[in-house]
């Protein structure tokens, strides 16, 4: 029997390997940079659906990349599918779609301030007005009648009220005491802009646009909306369109259609012009000459981007995110406004947006 025990001890020592004691799910890599995140830009990486690996990267002006700044600072994961980011005073709000959570951090340290986990379901985008955040929510994805805009009090971090809206509220913009909510669609496809009166927190009226309003912004008395139209795979293809809406009377003053098969995305204002993405190209529209542009302003074709998933322009620099195959770390490309490719940086899984302190 002694021999047998020896065999067992030997077998055990071969077989038993000790494993590390770290939380195996924690996403943690590069250390957090010195400073207050003002000399560079944030990249929001939404992460893989169900993998709980959404993250925020920061790239400083020296070109150093710091990934996972939320988990490095707070020693826990950010969450699942980071949809968007908004800023208020010293705070940054990160909207986590599949986690049904808003993470509130100090925008200069990224230390957690609060987590809002209750009463929101499928949150998408937030717009800050005064000390309130208005957050669009799809609700239960299978229920097309439970969509709403949640009002978050930024002093108490509690949801105060919900404003019921039609299905699929996405981008949200404030102008002159009104909130404009673009209904891109969640389960189905939307084609409306809800106008919410902030004095009563009720939907005051609706503006019809073409299908799938993806981009929306307010500038100098006008609301600009870019609709993608329904793509062919939906089974009922429709045209994309661009709309210039006078916010004093909520009338569409000018509009144009996109050719069949063109489904533009994003809408960014820079240098008093509007910019959108079609395929691998960036197009520019002047509000004073509201017509379909003939040629692109900048093309990203040389960079061989796989999935153009994020776009912004800030201080003469154009930022474009490549989500690759969704199953590998993404890249961000920087261009100057003449269209020259400046540089690129590797970030984390599925970059979808650029934000600036």
């Amino acid at each position: 029997m002694k021999n047998f025990n020896l065999i067992i001890v030997a077998a055990l020592s071969i077989l038993f390997c000790s494993c590390s004691n770290e939380d195996p799910t924690l996403q943690n890599d590069t250390p957090v940079p010195e400073g207050d995140f003002t000399d560079g830009f944030f990249v929001l990486n939404e992460g893989g659906f169900t993998y709980n690996n959404a993250s925020v990267s920061f790239v400083n002006d020296q070109g150093e990349v710091f990934n996972n700044i939320f988990s490095s600072t707070n020693n826990r994961n950010l969450g699942d599918v980071a949809q968007s980011m908004s800023f208020y005073d010293e705070l940054a709000l990160v909207v986590l779609n599949y986690s049904n959570t808003i993470e509130v951090v100090n925008r200069y340290t990224f230390e957690s301030v609060a987590s809002i986990e209750d009463q929101i379901l499928n949150p998408r985008y937030a717009s800050i007005v005064g000390d309130k955040a208005y957050i669009t929510n799809w609700g239960d994805p299978t229920d097309i009648e439970d969509d709403y805009v949640a009002i978050l009090d930024l002093n108490t971090f509690t949801i105060q009220e919900k404003i019921e809206v039609v299905e699929g509220p996405e981008k949200i913009v404030e102008a002159d005491g009104k909130l404009y909510v673009a209904h891109k669609g969640g389960w189905g496809y939307g084609h409306e802009i809800s106008v919410i009166d902030l004095s009563t927190n009720t939907v005051q009226s609706k503006i019809e646009v073409s299908d799938v309003p993806d981009g929306m912004l307010h500038s100098e008395g006008y609301l600009y909306v870019l609709s993608s139209g329904k793509a062919s795979w939906t089974g009922e293809v429709t045209k994309g369109g661009m709309f210039k809406i006078n916010t004093s009377n909520l009338q569409i003053e000018e509009e144009f259609d996109f050719p069949d098969g063109d489904h533009p995305k994003f809408l960014v204002e820079y240098d008093n012009s509007l910019h959108y993405i079609l395929g691998r190209d960036i197009f520019r529209v002047e509000p004073s000459n509201f017509n379909l542009p003939n040629s692109p302003f900048i093309s990203t074709a040389d960079q061989d981007i796989s999935v153009l998933y994020g776009f912004n322009i800030h201080k003469d620099t154009v930022y474009v995110a490549d989500a690759k195959d969704y199953v590998s770390n993404g890249e961000v490309h920087l261009y100057n406004t003449s269209g020259e490719h400046l540089t690129k940086y590797g970030v984390r899984l599925i970059p979808n947006g650029f934000y600036f302190n």
């Binding site: 195996p24 799910t25 691998r280 999935v307 195959d325």
Partner: protein, 611 residues
């Protein structure tokens, strides 16, 4: 709990799994005349057989059984959740699962969810690595798992109750009964398994929320000897599974998933004057429902009904030469909330030759032509040779071409399906060295596999996914399987071990495929003394990449987990076994899919009554 664990440690007796490595070499003389001849390539490739006693000692799901007893890596979304295999470095749909000879991979996903296959009630499960396209048809690229019910005559009445219970309110109720006389056989298997599955995550303050599951499985088998040379067999199986999907983050909306599958098979076997015939007619239904919110009665679904007809003929030209001919026909009718209603017809024809050149050498050649309306028809082949070079050493060599057809999702997903898809193709070769002496056995296999037209859903510039034939994958590896046993007096010890080294590279990028470990090891030691037996089994999975760029910070670390079990037979004349098992003995935090922690140490006890 602690005391219990210590007492286990003190007993320091570990042991047992009964993985029989069947060696066809030793049975070569008799095997030529046996009906196993219908398994092509059974002489020139290695395979492993998991016996019913091993099946009973492992947990009820096919994932658990194979995880601890084979080289296959399992991607399990938490205990009991969706589970898919990577066999020899291949993708989830490149492993074929056969139920009594019929391929049961889902026609919508191409995969088998190994947590929807209840192992209780099967008499044996055969693991055959490598390309089996000629024999099995689609999906057999990484390998094949065959679930088999045996039909035997003249065994009288046998009843078996297996009752299990354990941590997290996990329990299983199983009955296996059979009766046979000289000319008839009837078997019935009932199994019900359920768990709250709310285990705590180790090194975290979370628990596995919304992970409860239950499933029921009914099997019926019957056999009738029609004459001295022919026989009719009937098999039926129905699986009804309801699972909630555990939450990836605490506030995620709870979802659930229902499976309902039925399988019916009628088989006629005849063996007369050197001519063997086997006709199988099968009807399978598969149905899933996914509920994005457990509170609401809104779901997406997919449903496929399949009719399968197979005719095999074997003619013994002489005592050393057999010719084989086969015709297969499959009709699939699919519908679903996201796929267009479609019907497809698939046919194939096979011819083969087996030739025993001498007492020591046998070779076999099989050719298969696919005949279908929807896509390119590959021509498949396998060629193999086996030579016994000495009393204890034999080599087997095999080369083959296999394929996988696109799934209903790939072809017919509304708006996104791609009707231009080609089948995946696989060209492989393998060489095995088999050493056997008395009851000991060591088997060493090296293989190479090149997969072309790999089917992937690839996003376009706007982020819309569409299925495409994209990549080429080069896979090579090494497998070592060992079976040792020793008996002295009333003592019996057996040791089984598997090791796989796997390189599976996307040829365009040079990167290892995701969720393919370079190393996997299983080992099991079992000890038996009269009425007492005990086992210890260990599983090691090397690290895996979870991103296609093999990003270092997304690597899922390696892990090593172990189970231990003790069993005592109380019965005097009959078997009344009681047993207790500690699973994840060393309480290791591990996960086989990112963000899907598995349970820590937990306990499981059972009573097994046979009469």
């Amino acid at each position: 709990m602690k005391l219990l664990i210590r007492s286990f440690g003190l007993m320091a007796i570990f042991c047992c799994s009964i993985q029989a490595q069947q060696d066809s070499i030793q049975k070569l003389d008799e095997v030529v005349l046996k009906k196993t001849i219908f398994k092509d390539s059974s002489y020139t490739k290695t395979y492993s057989i998991l016996s019913d006693s091993l099946i009973e000692r492992n947990q009820a799901s096919l994932t658990n059984l194979l995880n601890f007893n084979s080289t296959i890596y399992f991607k399990e979304n938490g205990a009991g959740m969706v589970s898919s295999p990577s066999f020899r470095g291949t993708t989830a749909s490149q492993t074929a699962v056969l139920w009594n000879g019929i391929n049961i991979n889902s026609q919508t996903t191409g995969q088998t969810d190994f947590n929807t296959v209840v192992t209780r009630g099967f008499d044996q499960i055969i693991i055959q690595p490598g390309g089996g396209g000629v024999d099995v048809g689609s999906n057999a690229i990484g390998g094949t798992i065959a679930l088999e019910n045996r039909i035997e005559y003249n065994t009288g009445l046998q009843n078996q109750f297996l009752l299990t219970g354990g941590s997290f309110n996990t329990y299983g109720l199983n009955y296996d009964g059979q009766y046979s006389n000289q000319s008839s056989f009837l078997g019935i298997q009932l199994s019900h398994n359920a768990s709250d599955n709310d285990y705590p995550f180790l090194e975290s303050d979370r628990i596995n929320e919304n992970g409860q599951y239950q499933n029921s499985n009914l099997g019926l088998n019957a056999g009738f000897k029609l004459s001295s040379y022919d026989e009719l067999r009937v098999y039926f199986n129905v699986f009804d599974g309801k699972r909630h999907f555990s939450l990836p983050t605490p506030n995620a909306l709870p979802t659930k998933y229902y499976d309902f599958n039925t399988r019916s098979l009628v088989e006629w076997i005849s063996d007369k004057d050197g001519l063997q015939n086997n006709i199988k007619a099968a009807y399978l239904t598969e149905n899933y429902e996914f509920y994005p919110n457990i509170e609401r009665d809104v779901f997406s679904f997919g449903e496929v009904r399949s009719f399968i007809l197979k005719h095999s003929t074997l003619y013994e030209v002489s005592s050393s030469i057999s010719l084989i001919g086969r015709l297969n026909y499959i009709r699939n009718d699919g519908t679903g909330s996201d796929i267009e209603s479609e019907t497809r017809n698939l046919g194939s024809a096979v011819v083969g030759l087996k030739h025993q050149l001498s007492d020591d050498v046998i070779y076999e050649v099989n050719l298969r032509q696919e005949l279908n309306q929807d896509f390119e028809n590959p021509f498949l082949y396998s060629f193999g040779i086996q030579a016994s070079l000495s009393d204890f050493y034999a080599i087997k060599a095999n080369t083959s071409k296999s394929f996988r057809i696109p799934t209903f999702n790939d072809l017919y997903w509304q708006g996104l399906g791609n009707s231009e898809l080609l089948p995946e193709l696989s060209y492989q070769g393998e060489l095995s060295h088999v050493f056997t002496w008395s009851k000991q056995r060591i088997q060493l296999t090296t293989y190479y596999n090149q997969v072309e037209n790999l089917l992937n859903w690839v996003p376009d510039i706007s982020g819309i996914w569409r299925p495409q034939n994209t990549d080429e994958v080069e896979i090579y590896g090494l497998e070592v399987l060992t079976h040792l046993e020793k008996q002295w007096g009333d003592h019996e010890i057996t040791f089984d071990q598997t090791y796989a080294y796997t390189v599976s590279e996307n040829k365009a990028t040079g990167n290892q495929l995701i969720y393919v470990p370079y190393h996997k090891v299983t080992a099991a030691l079992s000890y038996n003394l009269r009425r007492f037996s005990a086992f210890y089994q260990q599983l090691y999975n090397g690290q895996v990449f979870t991103t296609t760029d093999n990003a270092q910070e997304q690597i899922l670390g390696d892990f090593s987990v172990a189970n231990i079990g003790l069993e005592y037979d109380l019965g005097k004349t009959q078997n009344y076994e009681v047993g207790v098992q500690l699973l994840n003995l060393w309480n290791v935090a591990y996960q086989s899919v990112q963000n899907r922690p598995m349970p820590g140490r937990n306990i499981n006890a059972y009573v097994n009554l046979t009469f």
